[in-house]
Symmetry: C2
Subunit: 334 residues, 2 copies
Amino acid sequence: MSDVILLAHGSGGKLSHDLVKKTFLPSLANTMLNKLDDSAIFEASGCLAFTTDSYVVNPIFFPGGDIGRLAVCGTVNDLSMSGAKPLYLSLSIILEEGLPLSELDHIVKSVKAAAAEAGVNIITGDTKVVNHGQADKLFINTSGIGIISPGVDISGANAKVGDKVILSGTIGDHGIAVMSQREGLKFSVPVESDCAPLNKLVCQILKASPRIHCLRDPTRGGLATTLNEFATQSNVGIMVEEDKIPVKESVRAACELLGFDPVYVANEGKLVAIVKPSDADKVLAKMKQNNYGRNAAIIGEVSDAHPGKVVMKTKLGPSRIVDMLSGELLPRIC
Amino acid sequence: MSDVILLAHGSGGKLSHDLVKKTFLPSLANTMLNKLDDSAIFEASGCLAFTTDSYVVNPIFFPGGDIGRLAVCGTVNDLSMSGAKPLYLSLSIILEEGLPLSELDHIVKSVKAAAAEAGVNIITGDTKVVNHGQADKLFINTSGIGIISPGVDISGANAKVGDKVILSGTIGDHGIAVMSQREGLKFSVPVESDCAPLNKLVCQILKASPRIHCLRDPTRGGLATTLNEFATQSNVGIMVEEDKIPVKESVRAACELLGFDPVYVANEGKLVAIVKPSDADKVLAKMKQNNYGRNAAIIGEVSDAHPGKVVMKTKLGPSRIVDMLSGELLPRIC
């Protein structure tokens, strides 16, 4: 077997079957995937969630993770943000001819580890190969299916005036970690991506408050874009206080150096919850008990002023409107 | 708005939202997609099928279709080949910076038309943009969910000795159409891709014979690879007769010119069914009533000789073993 990806690995023929049997099945095997039919079959009943994301992060390995871990966590998190318990993922990979098989192996093992941490199975997949120079190393798509408990109704359109805005931890870690790896920047305290599956955290806070109004993971576009999406979808104003938003010192320093505002930098293991005021302390306490929520904070509230806008009270006192990200800060961050 | 794709269209911020609102929603709108939450929500109960495929065909426009139609039909067909009625698709697109928006628009309209023909809705999606030169124009992933009627049990592992092998029409059309477009070849009778959704055809033959044993669409790797998969998964021999396999004259001529064997050339609107002998004529008759099955033929049968192998009785008389595709005939065919 060659030690790099060949076009024939994408032929659908012998080498494709070899790749599935030698690279994917040993890590990802389960009774549904092993059948290798055109679709995976499962039984379900109730209210289901379905989501998809393609991952094109560059570089494919970065401090705190890689594109494999990112692809599992990102889709697990999108399901979780709808209040769903993630059940099954698909895994579709576009490979560039010439990619070392050792790198693919490493990524498949990351997929396995992240799926095990989240408690989900990869049950169907696909591999394509394009000629050298027609893609950059590899791109991954994961789609996912989850099940929503009766009574849970989470949407960006559900924020109500008076609700509290809770952030599960520090922002900007993922964006700065990928950026520093890509550009070869060294910081005195290295920044690691926060890339993590948040499904168990969501399960815990939903037990504390089954009627959480909004949940979203502030990935591309950062915290500011997510808050703007909530403000627009719910037609409410959102007021946050800058000095309540947790940012690691190393991330803050990197952002100052690079001219970034941390509220626009991508996260891959954080969530924003909007909850009714009487539940806020309960939800915050539950978050802090989970390792991925230990730096959680209430950062603001929903108001009837400035519907559709996000207003931030700055550390220096005055307030300013924080718009959605415009332009592109960091291409290929996820 | 720019008339080409910019990196900022993949930022998750303003231009990403504009792209969704101006390019995707006008064509694909439905109540589930319109919510723009992290996941789409639907109700279901029973035995479900889940599949995924990424499409990297080059060129993205070819006689008889384009990458948009291909992405919908391919995933609809993978669901159908498990005996599922396709319900919902996801659509995730990786765009190269600089792609003309007019080309994206054209492809989104093809997605819409193919989804309408198949009777499925796109309910969740994602868009990423990579720098110019880091992908070739655009790649699409579609994943899909379908529902399987009670009693249907289709798998490549279900072929039984004595079963008949039915092919739904001519082979090699898609591969030759894409190849001729890519290489600028002209034939006296132009070859068009057979790219088509087969879900209604499958529904009709399942009514005629609810216990069809195997179904598969011979895409990459062609008819020969699909038959080999059945032979291996079911541990049976498969015998086919070369002169019963329908091939258009223009495709046969192109294959001879290019040195291809049509049994290895990709199809995107054909299926192979393996059915018990007493149902074969019923299934064949039903297929012929559907426009996508009008050239269907019984091409062979399952035997206990040579388990795991496919044997073809050639036109000249002697038989030969037809192996799975080895190497790569036509990169980026789907």
